[in-house]
C-alpha cells in the first residue's frame, strides 16, 4: 500500500509544480488523470485545409508535452479524431445522431520503453459507408523520429515533433488571476525547445460528411 501511495503522491507533486499558477496549457496537463498519463494527455488539436492541396483536410493531434526522441505512443490507448457535420451555420451545433459521425482511430503496438521507439501504427478511418486502414511504422529514414503511411486518399504521420504551442506563462497567469496591467512587450515562450508526439492526418474533403464540420480529438484507454 505504501508503494501505491507513493505512486500517487509523486505525480501529484509533479502536477502541483504545474499548478494553475504556472500553467502550460492550451490543453497540456489539464487534470490529475492526464498528468499521470502523459502518453494520453492531449495538448493541442489543429484542423485546416492543406495549403498545398485544397482538396485535403488536415487534422493534427499532439500528446505528451515532455516528449523526447525515444517517446512512444501508448499501446493501450486509442487516439481518435471524431468528426460530425454541422447542419445549421447559425447555431453551430454538431449532429446529435452518433451514426453520422466519422472517425480516424490510431492504435499502436510493439516498441520497447526507453530502448526501441519504433511502433507499428494502425489507423482506421471510418467514413460511414466505407473504411480505410493505413498501417506503417513510427520510425523511418524519412524523418528524425517518425513514420508515415498512405492508402485510399488518406495519409498519416506519427512521431515526435517540435511542440506547436506557445505562450508567455507569466503574462498569461497575470491575465487570468490578477487585474493588474500586463506588459505588451516581447515575452518568453514557456514551451521553448519542447517536443510532443504528433499524429497528422490528410484526407480527401470529398470523403467527409460536409463542408461545415465539428472536429474533436480524444484519447481513450482500452
Amino acid at each position: 500500500m505504501k508503494l501505491k501511495a507513493l505512486a500517487v503522491v509523486l505525480p501529484v507533486l509533479a502536477l502541483l509544480s504545474f499548478s494553475s499558477t504556472d500553467s502550460q496549457a492550451s490543453d497540456h496537463v489539464d487534470g490529475l488523470k492526464t498528468a499521470l498519463d502523459n502518453a494520453a494527455d492531449l495538448t493541442d488539436l489543429y484542423t485546416f485545409v492543406s495549403p498545398k492541396d485544397p482538396t485535403k483536410l488536415v487534422m493534427v493531434l499532439n500528446v505528451h508535452g515532455i516528449a523526447s526522441s525515444m517517446s512512444r505512443f501508448s499501446n493501450a490507448v486509442d487516439y481518435k479524431f471524431r468528426i460530425r457535420p454541422i447542419d445549421d451555420a447559425t447555431k453551430l451545433v454538431p449532429a446529435a445522431d452518433a451514426r453520422r459521425e466519422q472517425s480516424m482511430v490510431c492504435s499502436f503496438s510493439g516498441g520497447i520503453p526507453f530502448i526501441d521507439a519504433n511502433q507499428h501504427a494502425t489507423c482506421t478511418f471510418n467514413f460511414g459507408a466505407t473504411k480505410q486502414v493505413v498501417r506503417f511504422d513510427t520510425r523511418s529514414d524519412r524523418y528524425s523520429a517518425g513514420g508515415d503511411g498512405a492508402a485510399g486518399g488518406v495519409r498519416v504521420f506519427a512521431g515526435v515533433r517540435s511542440d506547436t504551442w506557445f505562450l508567455d506563462g507569466g503574462k498569461t497567469v497575470k491575465y487570468v488571476y490578477s487585474n493588474e496591467p500586463v506588459s505588451q512587450a516581447a515575452g518568453s515562450n514557456l514551451l521553448e525547445g519542447q517536443n510532443v508526439l504528433s499524429i497528422v492526418v490528410e484526407v480527401d474533403k470529398q470523403k467527409l460528411a460536409g463542408p461545415l464540420l465539428a472536429i474533436t480529438a480524444q484519447t481513450v484507454r482500452k
Binding site: 507533486l13 490529475l32 498519463d37 484542423t47 524523418y143 506557445f166 482500452k222
Partner: protein
C-alpha cells in the same frame, strides 16, 4: 525553471511508473491487458479530449483544487455530449470574470449564455472546408464562432492552424469580447508570437523535433 520542472516531472513519472507498475504486477498482473502493462496508469475509458484552446485551465476551472475534481470529470465525458449541467455555470461565471478584466463589459448576456452553453455541451473546433484558410497569414481560429455570436456570416475556414497565435486570440476573445480583433488599438498580447520552430506548409507540417 522550465527545465527543472521537466526533469522533476520526468523523474516523478518514471518513479511512479516503476512503483505503480510493480504494485500492479504483484497484485493483479493476470487481469491487466498485456498491452497496458508497460504504461504508468490504467484508467479505462476517456482520458482526455481537446478542441477549444484553454477550454479547461482558463475557461472552466477557478483554481488549483479543480484540477483533481472538475477537470478529470470533464475530460472523461464524451466531447460531443458533455454533461452540460455540470459545467455551464462555471463557464459562464469565468466568462463574466474575463469580460470585466479590462474594466469594460463587451459580452452581452445572450452571448455569455450562448457561448457558455456551447462550451458546456461540447469540446470541438468548427471548420468550414469550403472557405479559405490563409496558412501563411493565419487568422481563422474562432472566426466562425465569433461571427455566429455577432450575427455575421463567417469569412474563413475557422478551424485552427499551427502558426496562429491562439493565445492572443483567446485573450482578446474572452476579455475584449467576440467582436474584438487581435490587432489594432487596445488589442491584448502575451508577447510570444510563434512556437520554437514555425510549422511548414508541407506534410507533416509540424517542425522536426528539438534535439
Amino acid at each position: 525553471m522550465k527545465t527543472i520542472k521537466a526533469i522533476a516531472l520526468t523523474f516523478a513519472f518514471a518513479s511512479a511508473s516503476l512503483v505503480f507498475g510493480c504494485a500492479q504486477q504483484g497484485e493483479s498482473a493476470e487481469t491487466q491487458p498485456q498491452t497496458a502493462s508497460e504504461d504508468l496508469v490504467m484508467f479505462p475509458g476517456s482520458v482526455d479530449h481537446v478542441g477549444i484552446v484553454e477550454s479547461t485551465t482558463m475557461m472552466l476551472v477557478s483554481g488549483a483544487s479543480d484540477f483533481a475534481t472538475v477537470l478529470d470529470s470533464y475530460n472523461q465525458d464524451d466531447p460531443f455530449a458533455l454533461k452540460t449541467g455540470n459545467y455551464q455555470a462555471a463557464f459562464a461565471k469565468n466568462l463574466r470574470k474575463f469580460d470585466v478584466r479590462d474594466g469594460k463589459s463587451e459580452w452581452t448576456p445572450d452571448q455569455v449564455t450562448s457561448f457558455s452553453t456551447r462550451m458546456a455541451s461540447g469540446n470541438y473546433q468548427v471548420i468550414d472546408t469550403s472557405m479559405p484558410c490563409d496558412y501563411t497569414n493565419p487568422h481563422t481560429y474562432l472566426e466562425i464562432e465569433r461571427a455566429q455570436l455577432t450575427g455575421k456570416r463567417h469569412q474563413t475556414c475557422g478551424g485552427r492552424m499551427p502558426n496562429e497565435d491562439a493565445m492572443d486570440v483567446t485573450l482578446n476573445f474572452l476579455i475584449r469580447g467576440p467582436a474584438a480583433n487581435i490587432t489594432g488599438p487596445g488589442a491584448l498580447r502575451d508577447g510570444v508570437d510563434q512556437a520554437t520552430e514555425k510549422s511548414s506548409n508541407t506534410f507533416p507540417y509540424l517542425a522536426d523535433l528539438n534535439e
